[in-house]
Symmetry: C2
């Protein structure tokens, strides 16, 4: 087999944050496979390049198709937003490989890292991920809500900054509200909470709440939530929203 | 003031993973400030561009100098490896701003996200960050070892995949060993442990251990450690090291 499968992430928006390594893989691809939103962001490399755009909810089918194409000798790129290894397509490709044709394990498979959404959201706000942090997806398609609460509780107990991916969708409009209710039992009411919408995009926006008043209804599929630790601080500015950052030191800034 | 300060991350190695947005900021900079290792990676934009390379341990002095230069009207870029918001320079810039000249808060400050080390390490291995995960720095320069153990325990309790930054340095050769000893009390002996060295670089290497036998002495400053969750799996391959990935589902792959 001479095919290759490369799993790439485009970064948070457009291709302004895509790495040269990811763009090179896309330029060499004979086949680009992915959720339509991401496939549409990729510049067409030429008339020979085939596009395989699919719906959002079919990760395993998409991964299987990509492996099949690579096994036929094609140069396949599976495209995600952000980083392909963070709540995106890379794990789905290895799951499909594990349960699929044993010959797929001999394929030339590569993963190209990218800028994941929480990093773009943090950059928009300042440096809220400046201390230890964790990332939790609120989607309970593949894990139980009990597991999600167990992780939120552990994150609170460890005083981690918490990045929340997939906070809401049409099928799950209430889960961020449940998560906030749960976190209010485990973290101070004045904990900083950020809603970063479309971070990295031209029309990016940021809202700053505290945990007591954070309004889950203002989040959608393109929102990334960051819940601060005890060291997350606001830095007031005249006529502009404050910077938000997490002090690297337990003794406060500049100690 | 017409100066600007942009904090950028170059990604894990060279500039192959640097974003176009970060490279644009560097091309426009009159002053590039940073740890010498990172400053040396940046192509010189022209004879007008000044370099301010410094030692690794002086983040706040470096941040203060960058703010002073921007206040003088210079176009300053503070350069980090990886992502500037993850155990890097962005938080130091805001700390310096908080305790420094009030006029600095009116400066045009931006943060450009980048590919942080754990994403490159994960890509090298497969998709070990495929589930919920956390990132912990083992450096106790700015926080106590008690806090580090509290976070390791919480991470184990929450069954997070754990990315460990700054696992060892010449001044702290034993701390990764202490962290493994501690984790052995809280996680199964067969938990997958990865040592990714110089991930993203041409001479990158990966070692796969289990928690029982992970040898902390094989880590150095350029190593990123990933400790798996209960869902982190090895996918055997003929004549090659196994892929490592974390199943997105609690019910195992492809369920």
């Amino acid at each position: 087999m001479t095919g290759r499968l490369t799993v790439v992430g485009l970064g948070p928006a457009g291709t302004e944050f895509a790495t040269p390594a990811a763009m090179k893989a896309l330029a060499e691809a004979t086949d680009v496979v992915g959720y339509a939103t991401y496939v549409d962001r990729v510049p067409l490399a030429g008339p020979h390049q085939r596009r395989h755009a699919s719906d959002n909810r079919v990760e395993l089918e998409r991964a299987t198709m990509a492996l099949e194409l690579a096994a036929e000798g094609r140069q396949v790129v599976v495209v995600s937003g952000g980083d392909p290894g963070v709540f995106a397509m890379a794990a789905a490709v290895f799951e499909a490989m594990e349960v699929g044709d044993a010959a797929w394990r001999a394929l030339d498979v590569r993963v190209e890292p990218g800028v994941t959404a929480m990093l773009a959201a943090a950059a928009l706000a300042g440096a809220p991920l400046g201390g230890d942090f964790c990332a939790i997806s609120l989607s309970d398609n593949l894990k139980s809500w009990t597991t999600i609460e167990r992780r939120l509780e552990a994150a609170a107990r460890g005083d981690f900054v918490i990045a929340i991916y997939n906070p809401a969708s049409k099928a799950r409009p209430e889960q961020l509200g449940r998560a906030f209710e749960f976190l209010r039992q485990h973290k101070p009411a004045d904990t900083v909470v950020l809603f970063a919408h479309a971070a990295g995009d031209k029309n990016a926006s940021l809202k700053i709440f505290d945990l007591a008043t954070a309004d889950y209804k203002q989040a959608d599929m393109r929102t990334l939530i960051i819940v601060g630790s005890s060291q997350t601080r606001l830095l007031a500015r005249e006529s502009q929203r404050p910077w938000v950052y997490t002090s690297r030191s337990e003794r406060g800034p500049a100690s």
